[in-house]
């Protein structure tokens, strides 16, 4: 991957080129526009590898850009495991990579990945018992491989206690995208007291009075029917007669080997990088997905004079090649596999965001191989007070491609769980989805299943296990700093 900065363009004219600041990443001095997301600044500085995966130290980089996938975590100003796509750079910022030696780009522990086949998640079950005298030593070694960030002992950040606030409304809309705003406006037009929770400050602009926008607030859970949310100043408990999940969709990372390589990204992110942030993520992009869905990203690349090397359907993508960055892909053309050279992959498939649906314990089902909420004609879930609108319903998502998933494809990126490891659990008699989760660690990482639920259920389905019987979702819906949960007095 060779990313570079683009010159400012007329489309971006309203974004004044801000002053340039200097920050450090792993000791290297990097210059970037003030306020640019740290992960983007690193990409533009041709430093794409930001983190390493927990178990096999696979190189990871900017992917979702929304603070969800966790692939861009690093230490920022002494705070461990910060999602760098959410951190605006400023003068003097100091960031360092975690969980890599000697450097995140060339990490010796990355060699573990070559042996991943022989280190299944259950590797310790019948090992490290002999001689008995060494049992603790074995676990000491295991412990040395654990952990990511450093606990900032002796230099804690300042506490910012938040005020506890309770809110009672007739309708609560979670998500301030188009569908969420429409739902909020409609409810307000009917005379209801409405609250709208939107995590991106300034994004939700309802037209009706009577919609209280919790701007920049993130929903953290469904607790006993109440929705909890957090923003910069408050911890919210929201009681609502009806909750509308307008939570949108996530990138559906292709179920192929190499899909987690730096330089694989959702199409919308690529568009945002090029058009808003003026960073070109690759010179030879391969586009993956339905042609119509790919039109915006194709236009974005072409607008800066870059012609995509090719576009292929999701079903025709077989493998993404490269180690610390994409250098090609195996695709099927006319029924034959061939290698295509590329330095970037943009995929357009998405999958509904089920966070709130699963947290509420509402039923899900599969449609075209995709896990979607089970809804009646009115969009209500099996939890009567919870309705789903917009892309969170999964109505518009493309079907998942037919299962020719390779066993060494990652089903869970946080824990590096391979598809064949899930199959092996089923074969060993541990096919209960909850046991598969516990024995492999799939769904238990920091992304909380957002990026692996689809692959997890596909892998189970392929092994003959009912797919709607998903492991219980556990709050919070998004990782949250312990210090941010401290309730304090209004001051």
């Amino acid at each position: 991957m060779a990313a570079r900065r683009l010159a400012g363009s007329p489309e971006a004219a309203d974004v004044a080129r801000p002053p340039v600041v200097t920050f450090r990443f792993d000791g290297r001095e990097i210059r970037a526009p003030h306020g640019e997301p740290l992960a983007v600044a690193l990409l533009a500085a041709d430093h794409p590898v930001i983190s390493r995966s927990f178990r096999f130290h696979r190189p990871r980089a900017l992917m979702c850009s929304t603070g969800q996938c966790g692939w861009c975590e690093c230490e920022v100003d002494g705070r461990p495991s910060v999602r760098s796509c959410q951190v605006p750079v400023r003068q003097g910022l100091v960031a360092r990579s975690e969980h890599a030696w000697p450097s995140v780009g060339r990490d010796m522990f990355g060699l573990l990945d070559l042996g991943s086949r022989w280190i299944p998640p259950t590797f310790y079950h019948h090992r490290f018992l002999r001689p008995a005298a060494l049992r603790k030593r074995y676990l000491d070694v295991l412990r040395a491989f654990g952990g990511r960030g450093r606990l900032p002992i002796g230099r804690p950040l300042r506490a910012h206690p938040r005020v506890e606030r309770a809110l009672e409304v007739e309708v609560l809309v979670v998500g301030g995208g188009r569908a969420g705003v429409v739902a909020a406006d409609e409810a307000a037009a009917g005379g209801a007291r409405v609250a709208l929770v939107e995590s991106v400050a300034g994004r939700a602009r309802p037209t009706r009075d009577g919609v209280q926008v919790l701007d920049g607030a993130t929903a953290l859970g469904w607790y006993d029917g109440e929705v909890s949310a957090i923003d910069g100043a408050a911890l919210w408990s929201i009681k609502a007669g009806e909750v509308v999940a307008a939570t949108g969709s996530y990138e559906r990372v292709p179920s192929v080997r190499g899909a987690d390589r730096p330089g694989v990204m959702g199409a919308r992110r690529a568009v945002d990088l090029i058009e808003r942030l003026r960073v070109l993520p690759g010179e030879r992009p391969l586009l993956v997905g339905d042609e119509a869905d790919l039109a915006p990203v194709r236009r974005a690349f072409e607008s800066v004079g870059v012609a995509p090397v090719r576009s292929v359907s999701t079903a025709d993508l077989r493998r993404i090649l490269g180690r610390r960055g994409v250098n090609g892909a195996i695709i099927t053309v006319g029924g034959r596999a061939q290698r295509e050279s590329a330095d970037f992959v943009a995929f357009s498939d998405r999958t509904p965001n089920l966070d709130l649906v699963l947290a509420a314990g509402a039923a899900v089902t599969t449609r075209g191989g995709v896990v979607v909420p089970a809804l009646d004609e009115a969009g209500r879930t099996s939890v009567p007070r919870l309705r789903v609108v917009g892309s969170a319903t999964g109505a518009a998502v493309p079907a998942a491609p037919p299962a020719h998933v390779h066993g060494r494809t990652l089903a869970c990126f946080c824990e590096d769980v391979h598809v064949d490891e899930i199959t092996a659990q089923v074969r060993a008699g541990y096919g209960d989805p909850e046991l598969v989760k516990r024995r492999t660690g799939a769904l238990t990482g920091p992304c909380q299943g957002k990026y692996c639920l689809q692959a997890f259920t596909c892998a189970l389905a392929a092994a003959g296990v009912a797919t709607t019987d998903l492991p219980s979702a556990r709050p919070p819906l998004r990782p949250v700093r312990l210090g941010d949960l401290v309730p304090g007095d209004e001051s």
Binding site: R79, R143, G146, G147, R148, L151, I153, R155, R438, R481
Partner: protein, 395 residues
């Protein structure tokens, strides 16, 4: 797998108690053992706990039992040929009250007599060993031992793998709906998947064991109470002991082998009842407590929370053994938050009792018939430590 129509022993509950009992009974030559669970194996408190295996207790009697329990875990990996990740992480009571420190002198001396390695640390020594408390509420001292943790799920799988080789049949997702009995003895267990005739039933249903006892017409003074836990993203090795703040309402935390920090604090007003839902107030309460004691924890990232149940008895000791009023009805329940630690050893004693017909001495404090039918769960004291602080004698 279809349910058998009859069995020698039916065990209700595939948690550490039920699976432990199955292992011990099979080892004593009991045939046809059937284990039932309403969910998957370990779906109750077993799969929801943090598995601290601590010898250091507040009384000599309990410490002696705990020593045997820990020894059992230390052997478990070798015996079952499965690694349960027994690890001497260390264990610390953090004390904030000089009176508590004084009281601990006697307890540490008692530990020394028994051969338990514990030490009373000064405030400085405490911070040196556990720098995570730097900048927090000033500690008055601590008691540190070389106690251990295990991996709760690994304990379940070690038992499952072992039991599969012993022809014990385990039936998950099978709910007991009724118990058939006559005036004096058990006849059969009725489930949503069929009837199993048996002369011996072991109730090891954890948080649901009171309900199961009622199905059999047996009264017991145990009540389930929700307990909550949260876990953080993994951090590098930095906390060298499982920490408890002496009183349950003040909480506890420890770092797992993977580096995650698990923590929790008991809500003193938690009502009794079957409840495994997570709460928002727990997150806030725990965050406030822990960041005050250990400010470095402000920066850790909470990625998951869950809840399980303590099945609490009035004396905080489990009910393990037969039931006088109903022949064939055995109990291994009311673990009061110590099931993971106590169950493997106490179910070994229970199996001895069942096979030989007399209770081993070590089992006597735990026999269910120490409570009479008129003992009410209402006398339950949720703050178990209060009894020791007030100097009240232990049972």
């Amino acid at each position: 797998m279809s349910l058998p129509s009859s069995a020698d022993v039916v065990i209700i509950g595939a948690g550490v108690g039920g699976l432990g009992a199955a292992r011990e009974l099979a080892a004593r030559g009991i045939g046809r053992i059937v284990v039932l669970d309403r969910g998957y194996p370990g779906s109750g408190a077993t799969g929801r706990n943090v598995a601290r295996i601590r010898r250091m207790q507040l009384t000599e009697e309990l410490s002696r039992v705990a020593m045997a329990c820990q020894a059992k875990y230390e052997r478990m990996g070798g015996e079952l040929r499965s690694n349960v990740l027994f690890y001497r992480l260390g264990y610390a009571w953090i004390l904030y009250d000089p009176d508590e420190v004084e009281r601990m002198r006697g307890i540490v001396a008692m530990h020394a007599r028994l051969g338990i390695r514990s030490a009373l640390l000064s405030p400085d020594e405490t911070l040196r060993h556990l720098p995570v408390f730097e900048g927090g509420d000033p500690v008055a001292g601590s008691v540190l031992s070389d106690d251990a943790i295990v991996h709760h799920d690994a304990v379940v799988w070690a038992h499952l793998d072992h039991l599969a080789s012993r022809d014990v049949s385990i039936h998950p997702h099978t709910t007991v709906t009724a118990i058939e009995r006559d005036a004096s003895r058990v006849r059969a267990v009725i489930t949503d998947r069929g009837r199993i005739e048996t002369r011996v039933v072991l109730n090891a249903a954890g948080g649901w064991s009171g309900d199961i006892n009622r199905l059999a017409g047996v009264r017991s003074p145990n009540l389930p109470h929700r307990r909550e836990v949260l876990v953080t993203a993994p951090l590098r090795r930095s906390i060298e002991a499982a920490v408890t703040f002496y009183r349950p309402s003040e909480g506890w935390f420890n770092q797992t082998l993977r580096g995650e920090i698990v923590m929790g604090a008991v809500d003193p007003d938690e009502p009794a009842g079957v409840d495994q839902r997570s709460s928002w107030s727990f997150l806030q309460r725990t965050a406030a407590l822990m960041t005050r004691k250990a400010p470095a924890l402000r920066d850790v990232t909470v990625i998951r929370q869950w809840a399980g149940m303590y099945d609490i008895t009035p004396d905080h000791l489990p009910l393990v053994g037969p039931t006088a009023r109903l022949e064939g009805w055995w109990q291994a329940l009311g673990w009061s938050g110590r099931g993971m630690m106590l169950a493997p050893y106490l179910t070994e004693l229970l199996a001895d009792h069942l096979v030989r017909g007399t209770a081993p001495d070590m089992l006597r404090p735990f026999l269910p018939d120490r409570f009479t039918a008129t003992d009410e769960a209402a006398t339950l004291e949720t703050d178990y430590y209060a009894r020791y602080v007030s100097g009240a004698p232990s049972r």
